[in-house]
Symmetry: C3
Subunit: 207 residues, 3 copies
């Protein structure tokens, strides 16, 4: 469980950096940048804990997540001129966060006897809700709703964990397989520029 | 109670369709369309359950709501070319959903000994919060805040239920009367194009 | 505690007025104006109570907050032509609300054995989350993320309360000092037009 915690903090840091960067791009002040980093990094797990009724949420029980997010957001603010160079590595850390957040969210819901669809949704919410709040607070339609195989990777990873949960596979193996699958799908989607179908109908514009 | 459950699912389906349609119009991908359908259909009742402290919310206890929303959103995505023809019937299903969601929300709050204003608000939240989240995620100011007698119909229906709750009227009758009133006001508002007052002051633009 | 309750209602009224005014400026109808007033005034404390797991939230337990918000929003709607003249006094009432909401939020978290950072965050959330929801529902990037020493005043006040909480200073004195500090910083920031640093980099536009 110690490895999962380390991966969780890496994901938290990557998500905080993406939130802080969104704030800087919107010309927010220092405080706005920190708030956006905090919300992006901890919003998903906090929503999951609210929905599962496990309150206060993880982020207020173990303040390590708050401190990690704030320190990372500050570092991005101070070093924003060098951030461009970090863009590429950040995508990898973000993918690690995605895989980790999915197995933590889905795993927690399964441990609380949630149904299979609920468990998958809790994984997706853990991994994507923070970024959705980041985008709404930045005045943008959430990226995750519009493009890229991002939440889809989470659904796949969550579904794998749900299936393995009902087999004899040991939980540790199930977690590793599900997290690895999420990360692999996400990275393949980036490399190959995978897209989900959408309605691309000019007639829509006139409606 | 079985009739109420059937009406609840009809309302869920109508709300999921309106959410999915909003996602298609914003050129979201398949997953965004499903998420918007889900959130629109279950967001209001989920917020009500969070506020009343009844967690996990109804939507995670009975997965029928999740499956209904996802199937409807998928159907709207696949059959979007025929959606135009469904616009008119959908307004009726949406009105049925409105009346049902109001009596479920207000009724649940009353059963938990909430005050009268709280009970009415919980009915309004159940019926309108999902649509507000749909609009925010679509990058728009919530329609319900801007025009039409929509939330007002919910307030009227909720108030009727609160008043009848304190009389000798049997609960089943009270629910039928309140839901019918909500639906009737909503349909009359559509037919007669009722509007609430607003401040229409050119001077505002300069402020 | 009775003085704190009176200040709390003054803050609630000031926040409700700012929410109602935002709705009027966006040409919302009467109901939208009331909803925006309600959400702005009670949203922060409601989010705090959700996060702390104290449900139903304060706003649904003591309906005085709801009635105050609705009456004030109605008054702003009816008397909007005279609102301009109230702008200046409202800033003072808003500052009083800020100081009061911070000590209530941070104090409540401390009473529930929250960690120091969590306690400060709960004060900030109580004082600013309502305004953030107001801005999101109005289709705007939250003001508090962009400019002015507003949330920063809350952080300072919350930090003072946390420090005094761990000393021998009597709670009443600690509350008065922390609230006064918040209000003083906020008013000084208005008078002297204090700003937090931000990244003001033209190169950002091209990224």
């Amino acid at each position: 469980m110690s490895l999962l915690y380390a991966l969780d903090l890496i994901g938290t840091a990557a998500f905080a950096a993406s939130g802080a960067w969104a704030g800087i791009r919107r010309q927010m002040d220092l405080l706005g940048v920190i708030v956006l980093g905090l919300v992006t990094a901890t919003g998903g797990g906090t929503l999951r804990d609210i929905l599962l009724g496990d309150l206060p949420p993880f982020s207020l029980k173990d303040e390590t997540y708050l401190y990690t997010s704030i320190v990372v957001a500050l570092a991005v603010f101070v070093g924003h001129r060098h951030f461009e160079r970090l863009h590429h590595p950040l995508l990898y850390f973000d993918a690690i966060g995605l895989g980790t957040f999915v197995v933590i969210g889905t795993g927690k819901a399964l441990a609380m006897q949630a149904g299979p669809l609920t468990a998958i949704l809790m994984g997706v919410a853990t991994a994507t809700a923070g970024g959705m709040v980041r985008d709404v607070l930045s005045g943008q339609v959430p990226l995750v709703l519009q493009r890229e195989v991002y939440a889809s990777a989470c659904i796949a990873g969550g579904a794998i964990l749900v299936v393995l949960h009902h087999t004899a596979v040991p939980p540790t193996i199930a977690i590793i397989v599900a997290a690895t699958a999420t990360i692999a799908i996400r990275l393949l989607a980036i490399w190959r520029n995978w897209q989900l179908p959408r309605v691309n109908d000019r007639a829509l514009d006139e409606k």
